[in-house]
Each structure stands twice: as C-alpha cells, then as structure tokens.
C-alpha cells in the first residue's frame, strides 16, 4: 500500500470515488447511519438529503411491535452515553407498509436491521421482507445488549450464528450483514462463524455492555442494571474490534462505534472497514453523517487518494509492533 509513501498531489474533492461494494450492493459512499440512531430515516429527512449518504440502517424491526424498556432509557457518561431502549419498534407489518415506502420516496439506500429472539423469528422476517425491492441489504442484529431474550449474549454463540445465517441465506437475494457484539472473548471467532454461515458482510461493533450507578439512591441510572455504551468513549475499543474482525474474514466489515468525524471514519477504513456507521454523533448533531462524509472526502482529496477503496486495510500492524518492541528495549520508555 503506497498511499502513505511520498505525498501525492491533492485532488479535487468532487473527483474522489467514494463508492464501495458490500456483497452485491453498491453504496454511493461509505457513510451509513447506525441502527437505532436514525429512526426510520423520515425523522431527519427535512435536514438531510438521504440520497446523499451511503445508506440508512433502520431501527431494528422485530416480527411483533415492541414497547421497549421502562425508564430510564438513556444516561450520559464520560464522553459517551448508555442506552437501554429495548428494541422499541413498530413491528414488521408497519415497517413494510409505512416505513419502507417512505424511505423509497426519499431515495435512500435502505439497510433493514432485523432482530429476533430465535432463529425462527429472523426467518419469519426474511420471508416477509427478503424480496422487498425497497431493501438493499439486511443487517441482522445479533448484538442488542438490552433485551431479556435474544440479545447479545444469546447470539454470542459461534455455532448458533453459523447455523442461523445458513438458514437465513436462502430466504433473500440481498446481502446479509451480521452485526456483532464486542462483548465476546474473541470477536474473530464470531466473525469467522458468520462468514462460514454465509454472511455477506459484518458490522463491528454494537454497543458495549456498561453501567452507571446513582449513589444517592444506590440504583442504576438506567431502568435495567446495564445498558449499551456508545459515543466517542468507545471509539478506540470499537476500532480494535473492527480491525480484529476485518483481519479474520474475507467478507467486508462495516465499522461502527463512536465515529464522529471524517478522520474517525477513515481510521476504521484504514483498519479494514469497507464502510462505516455514524450513530450517537447524530444525537449531538443531526447532520453528523453528512459532515463526516464531507470531511472524509476532503481528507482523501488533500492526500491525493482517488478511490476510498485504496485506503481499506491500509493500516498494517507491523510498524506499531516494532515500536512496541523498541519501547520495551528502552526499558519501557517509548
């Protein structure tokens, strides 16, 4: 990879090719909105032209509507936030009949996030939605930390992931993206299991299981004891999981976790991500995804990189490892 070598001449930003492929789906650029942070797209359509971003990953839909968890559902922590929403959603029927037509009208590339407590529920969802022309790909939420059944822990079983994906694969002609939990012993195991099962891509990662205690009441600051941590606080950890997952599989990986700037997005791409998802940043700044896109384009242009795909996996671990070794030789002083 020569991009980091002699500095190239800057290019005009509009000349940068930002398109990427995720399985059979071509995205116009690598910036997606993360599931659960962008509703069903319509909510932000008056401030963002959804046709300009790579795609919208919709709020996870389940077979039946879900009311979600009791309050509190969100709490801010240092440079991050905890959530315990509990997959509140309108259910399959209303998603298909109301939300998808609206997204199509808005010309968004739709990645429909689906969730289930069992493999059978996921099959039901794909039987209903698998051939919908308004859906570009499916992201299977194998990693919600906030539900009593069918959450991250249930889906942390590599064999279950592989078997389930093998059952889902024939039900759709669109790419299947498996969204992984970071809270596993080794994400390479779950990543490889998904690839073996037939996943076309992975998303790394969902939120980290985390908690916060209100000492006054000696209670959780959420309705449940734990929630999922997101935001800038998790970016370095998410980046490491993304890099590990990308190194373990041949299928594309979508990076997610604390991305709030073009440089954040590019770090994930350099670590091996093909595309990235912007999540919590949208809560702070509704137009975060379009800003991240503009910043990414500007950086690539300034660095003379004509195609974003040239940067995928550009980071190689060796120099860092050498540096570590050198530091060890120097008595631990870097």
């Amino acid at each position: 990879m020569s991009y980091a070598a002699p500095k190239r001449a800057a290019l005009a930003p509009e000349r940068i090719d930002l398109s990427v492929r995720v399985g059979s789906l071509t995205l116009r650029n690598p910036i997606l909105t993360a599931s659960g942070t962008f509703g069903y797209g319509d909510e932000y359509a008056h401030v963002i032209d959804l046709a300009t971003i790579g795609g919208v990953v919709t709020k996870t839909v389940t077979v039946k509507p879900r009311a979600g968890n009791a309050p509190q559902r969100v709490a801010e922590t240092a440079s991050g936030m905890l959530n315990s929403i509990g997959l509140e959603n309108v259910g399959l029927e209303r998603f298909r009949d109301e939300k998808l037509p609206r997204l199509k009208q808005l010309e968004a590339t739709v990645i429909a996030s689906i969730g289930g407590e069992t493999p059978e529920e996921l099959e039901t969802l794909l039987r209903a939605l698998g051939r919908e022309p308004g859906v570009g790909a499916f992201e299977v939420n194998f990693s919600c930390p906030n539900v009593a059944a069918g959450g991250a822990r249930y889906w942390a079983d590599a064999d279950r992931l592989e078997r389930t994906l093998a059952r889902l694969k024939p039900l759709t002609d669109k790419p299947l993206i498996a969204k992984l939990s970071p809270d596993v012993t080794d994400i390479r195991d779950t990543a490889r299991a998904c690839e073996r099962g037939g996943a076309d891509a992975l998303t790394a990662v969902n939120t980290f299981v985390a908690m916060s205690i209100d000492l006054d009441g000696m209670t959780s600051r959420l309705g449940r004891a734990t929630g999922g941590l997101s935001g800038p606080a998790i970016k370095p950890m998410a980046l490491a999981r993304c890099w590990e997952a990308a190194g373990a599989v041949k299928i594309p990986v979508l990076g997610s976790g604390g991305i709030a700037s073009g440089r954040d997005a590019l770090e994930f791409i350099a670590a091996g991500a093909t595309a990235v998802q912007v999540g919590t940043a949208t809560f702070v700044e509704p137009e975060a995804s379009t800003r991240v896109l503009a910043e990414m384009r500007a950086w690539l242009a300034a660095n003379g990189i004509a195609r974003v795909t040239d940067l995928i996996g550009a980071f190689r671990a060796e120099p860092a490892q050498e540096a570590t070794t050198a530091a060890a030789r120097n008595g631990g002083q870097p």
Partner: protein, 313 residues
C-alpha cells in the same frame, strides 16, 4: 442543560418542557445561536438570552430546544431546555431561558459571555394549547416557571386574562416571580403565590391554593402547568376530579430530543393506550407505541388523561 443535573459531568439532562396541538410537520433545525446576555435571577438561577438566525422557527410556550456547547464541551449530549420567552428585536428572534448552573454543562453555559455561540436544535415538541377555550390557569412549581412565563406572554398578546399560580418550597425559591409579575401587569391577570413554609403567599402547595381559588373562577378551567412530576401528578388528579382540562409539561432525560432514539418514555394511561391501539396503522409516524409516550415528540405537554400518573417517576 436544565437544572436537575445531579452529578457534575454525568449530567442527567431533564427536559423541562411540555397533549397539545397535533404533531406538526417537522420544522426543527440545528443552528448556531449567539449569546445576547446572561444575568443572575436569584437563588443561583440565571436568565439567558440567545439570538437565533433567520430560518429558525419561533417556539411556542411549552416547546423546548436542545442546547449544545461548542467544542470543547464538558458534556457530550445536548441538553433539553424549556423556552421561557421568545420575541423579535429589530427583526431578529430572541429566545430566553431560565436555568440553574448545577452541572458541568450548565456551569460552562453560565460562563459564556455575550457574543459567544452555542448550538441550538429546535423548536422541539408540542407546546401548550393556549387557545383552548376556558379560563387559563397557569400553575408553576419552582423552576418549572420557565414555560409558563412564556405562556403568560402569549396570553397577554392575545388579550386573554389568566390566573397565575406560582408555588415553591420557600419565598426565596420563587425564581422569576418579578418576571411573572411584569407579564401579568397588563389586562387584569392575577398572580397567586404559595410557599410550603408560608414565607410568602399562601401557606401550602399549589393544589391547596388552587382548591381555594377555583370556586371564584369562571368555568371551565384550562390548566397549563409545569413543575416537579409529583406536583404535576397532583394537579392532574385535581383536574380529573374537578372537571378541568390540564396540560402538563413533563421532563425526561433525553438523548436526541427528536424522536429517533426512543430514550424518553412516559407511561401512557389505559385510555391513551386503547386509543393508540385503535388508531393502529393510521397513527402518526412516530406514534403507535401503546405503552410509552415519548416526552420529546408526543409531549412534552400532555393532557392529564394521557399519562398513567401512578407510574410517572
């Protein structure tokens, strides 16, 4: 950036804000606003005036904005803050807020000099239905006075009299009482004070004072209230028992403020749950959760019959 941040830097932002007019077409924007002035308002409260750029829709009483400090902010998320005034000065929209500097975010906000910029997303949520026919009774509890100051302004502009009931634990905590008095000075509106310790006005709570006043007022009464949830529950129960309508501005911890994160649930009443279920697919885009209303988009103003007051925290 409201006032119930309990742990500095770990802010539990709570919207002090507000069933009201049907959910309108989304008009909110995120803009950069300029600090016009900040001044002390007693008991560590501050009055903040911001100038908003053209294109920002003027809020109505009971609506809120998401206020975000510029980088480097000590907190990540924006803070929901109820709007206390909105007026035009030389064609420019000026919006006022009453807040207490109690958390890391609000303390940093309090240090912003005139001319500094802050990010504002809004106007958000549904405000008070002030045009509802009847005698308007505005009920404020403590710092919950903010949206009611604005409601008093709007009623005065439409030349309607109101009764303004303002309660706090002590006289010193009747923050904004002078602002309230100024707004009520025209047109025969009246200010009624209540303090738990009797240091000012009626000795007791706002519901006690309301019970005393109500027989003298022309019915029907339409209550618009904001304050601690315990007080709002008491007002809601009083209204339901006495045949009055009551619109109550609720607060919640929030993340997005725009309906996407689903982070600010309030328990719907059995009646409201049945109605949402009956509406089914015809319900508005963000509705349809029969169990929980979202404070940010279904509210923050709710009519007393919309919520299950036994389960409101």
């Amino acid at each position: 950036m409201t006032t119930r941040e309990r742990v500095p830097g770990r802010a539990t932002a709570r919207a002090r804000i507000a069933t009201a007019a049907p959910a309108a077409r989304r008009t909110w924007r995120q803009v950069r606003a300029r600090v016009v002035s900040q001044r002390e308002s007693g008991a560590s409260f501050r009055w903040l005036e911001l100038e908003l750029p053209a294109g920002f829709v003027a809020p109505v009483a009971g609506q809120f904005v998401q206020l975000l400090l510029e980088f480097p902010s000590p907190v990540l998320l924006p803070r929901p803050m109820s709007v206390a005034s909105a007026r035009r000065v030389r064609g420019k929209l000026r919006v006022g807020f009453l807040y207490a500097a109690v958390g890391a975010g609000t303390r940093a906000l309090s240090e912003l000099p005139p001319g500094a910029s802050v990010s504002v997303t809004g106007p958000l949520g549904r405000g008070y239905p002030l045009s509802e026919p009847g005698t308007p009774v505005l009920i404020a509890g403590g710092r919950g006075v903010a949206p009611l100051l604005m409601a008093a302004d709007e009623l005065a502009r439409s030349r309607r009299r109101c009764e303004f009931v303002f309660g706090a634990r002590t006289g010193a905590l009747l923050i904004g009482v002078s602002e309230a008095r100024t707004r009520l000075s025209r047109g025969g509106s009246r200010l009624h004070l209540a303090t738990d310790d009797g240091s000012r006005g009626f000795e007791g709570d706002v519901v006690g004072l309301l019970t005393k006043l109500a027989p003298k007022l022309e019915r029907p009464l339409v209550i618009h209230a904001c304050g601690p949830h315990g007080m709002l529950a008491a007002v809601a129960r009083w209204a339901m028992a006495n045949g009055a309508r009551a619109h109550l501005a609720m607060e919640s911890v929030m993340a997005c403020g725009t309906g996407v994160c689903r982070g600010c649930p309030l328990p719907r009443s059995g009646e409201a749950r049945q109605r949402v279920l009956a509406e089914g697919a015809a319900a508005a885009a963000l509705k349809g959760n029969p169990e929980w209303a979202m404070c940010c988009t279904d509210g923050p103003v709710f009519e007393s019959r919309e919520l299950d007051w036994e389960r409101v925290e």
